[in-house]
Symmetry: C2
Subunit: 363 residues, 2 copies
């Protein structure tokens, strides 16, 4: 099997994807990524602000512009955008980048939702309420138009430390997310995440449950959660099936949607990677069962037999997911592309990145 | 007949549109619109900078945000976006707004090409060369992605005084555009246009022919010309047919494309309105024959029997075209919507605008 269905009925999404799909990447930043140790998506905390823009540029162009580096660690662990780009090119997919609110803007064409970067939730609210409202308003309009364009919309994300803000958002909304969130690191900094979320909830004065997703985002969320949620709602309302392409952060997006517009839940699914599902420190399926049991699928792509340590690292729990890697993999499988072809394409692009390392520094 | 083919073979475009299409509106400003008498797209010269953003907002939302007015003149002559919106909704079309460079940014989601507003070409160059290059670079990437999404791309425009900068650009590129450009006014300010273009060419030191379209844009053009051209080139290269939706400005876009990438010319057509073709002070067909004879079609929609002076004014030569009105009309006809249904939809939306006039001022 090319992918595994863990929850729900994925058939309607297969039919929709086969009738035409569009891939969008929603990017944003939260200053939570500046807290040392919270994320490995950037060599130094201040570089994490470049990661979403660099991911978006790599996805569209095959190279980064905002920062003159190769999007991999010095020892060759690549951005998950490596997978997404290789796979989307195999299936001749169209990509639209959406900026939900990023400190560093990508130097490529992108749709701006007129949001703002998320602030450090341990120190202040994440976003002003009117900013969240504007993001949602614009996301609904964008989703409405994208939904009319294709039968399926795949929405990926890039926001370093996004699992921490997603955890805070989920707990503020009344879900037990304390021990369910994944991480790009093989050693999930769970205690640090829990301590950050506790400090944020205390600072924001959240004791009971916040039923208003705009308010919860404003207090302890990030710009990507309302952006993905509103684009998804808009697209479903204009006739599209939506695949949320990501890991445990998708639980927060789903919780936002459930609180904002229940009528769209039946047209939503989550697609991710095997590596994310295999994360013993997290529990995506349990989280989605708790929030709302929509279909969850994961690609069975394995890097076990890849001839590079940097790629085999995915099997050791590095990176796991991001930039819609899992969603693009499942989409390619639905379109009939075998995992062997996918691996060959990823390997070819990976070797190009390695060759670039001779000329440019690593990220 | 719902539309008339004036030049070339439109059949391949009909087939492409029937397989799926996307409508994009490219907006921009040029400070040439501040020269008194040059355009009627705005009650006062300084208001013309709001027109593209207001058009884009009306197209997506049915109302304007950047300016709290109804998009029509006090005596009821509406923006051509009235036609575009009514028609695109009839055929459930998807709309993407692209900002090529506007002084006023619309308060809706839009793709930004990271251009800049065009300056007054009688006083300085329109745009820095690196800005034009960035617009083209981003337009090519955007077009490449949009072209993979649908078989046909319809590209409309909104830029007050755009026929004047298009005239200057065409003449700089060596075409005889002196007496071929149309106008939104029933009394084409041709002498004023000619005098502006002469002053601009003299100021820019253009005596011979500029073969470089980037340089010609930089000296005497505007941001919309390179944006439309590069999006069109990118979309054709990734497999789409492109319909340039507009009047005589499309001659400038075509000239840019011809100089930049001849290989894409065979997948381009121009769609406009009957009112534009009927403009005795202009010559779209002659201009396109001179630049490169691609297919030209015009919708046969008539407002002769409309029950409002503001709509019948189109028959008197007011407005004529803009916001891709002609292209959206032809697209709807290809999709099998009759002109009677189109007129009924326009009339319904026009009455909504009139009702809004009771609450808000006119533009």
């Amino acid at each position: 099997m090319e992918y595994t269905v863990h929850l729900g009925d994925f058939e309607p999404f297969i039919n929709a994807i086969k009738q035409g799909f569009l891939f969008t990447l929603t990017i944003g930043t939260t200053d939570v990524s500046l807290i040392p140790g919270i994320t490995i998506a950037g060599a130094k905390p201040e570089l994490t602000h470049y990661t979403p823009a660099a991911d978006a540029e790599y996805l569209l162009l095959g190279r980064c512009r905002v920062i003159n580096t190769v999007p991999m660690t010095p020892d060759g662990k690549p951005t998950p955008a490596l997978i997404t780009r290789a796979v989307l090119r195999l299936i001749n997919a169209s990509v639209l980048v959406v900026n939900a609110g990023s400190r560093i803007k990508p130097l490529i064409p992108y749709v701006d939702l007129q949001g703002e970067p998320g602030l450090d939730i341990t120190k202040s609210n994440a976003l002003r309420r009117d900013v969240v409202e504007r993001v949602v308003d614009n996301g609904l309009v964008l989703g409405d138009n994208l939904g009319r364009l294709s039968k399926a919309l795949i929405i990926g994300e890039s926001i370093p430390a996004g699992t921490t803000t997603a955890m805070a958002f989920l707990i503020a909304m009344g879900y037990d997310a304390w021990h369910k969130m994944s991480s790009a690191s093989p050693v999930n900094p769970r205690e640090l995440k829990i301590s950050i979320v506790k400090r944020a909830l205390e600072r924001a004065g959240v004791s009971g449950i916040i039923n208003d997703p705009i308010l919860a985002t404003s207090k302890v969320g990030d710009p990507v959660i309302p952006a993905m949620a509103s684009i998804a709602i808009g697209a479903v309302k204009s006739g599209s099936h939506v695949v949320l392409a990501g890991g445990t952060q998708m639980g927060a997006v789903l919780a936002f949607i459930k609180a904002f517009d229940k009528s769209t839940l039946s047209k939503l699914a989550i697609a991710t990677t095997r590596w994310l599902i295999n994360d013993k420190t997290a529990d995506l399926i349990g989280l989605i069962r708790e929030v709302h049991p929509i279909p969850v699928v994961s690609s069975n792509l394995s890097f076990d037999d890849m001839p590079y340590d940097g790629l085999r690292a995915f099997e050791g729990g590095f990176i796991k997911e991001g930039v819609g890697a899992g969603g693009s993999l499942v989409t390619a499988s639905v379109m009939g592309v075998g995992l062997d072809s996918i691996k060959a394409a990823i390997l070819r692009d990976y070797r190009e990145l390695l060759a670039m390392l001779r000329e440019y520094p690593s990220f």
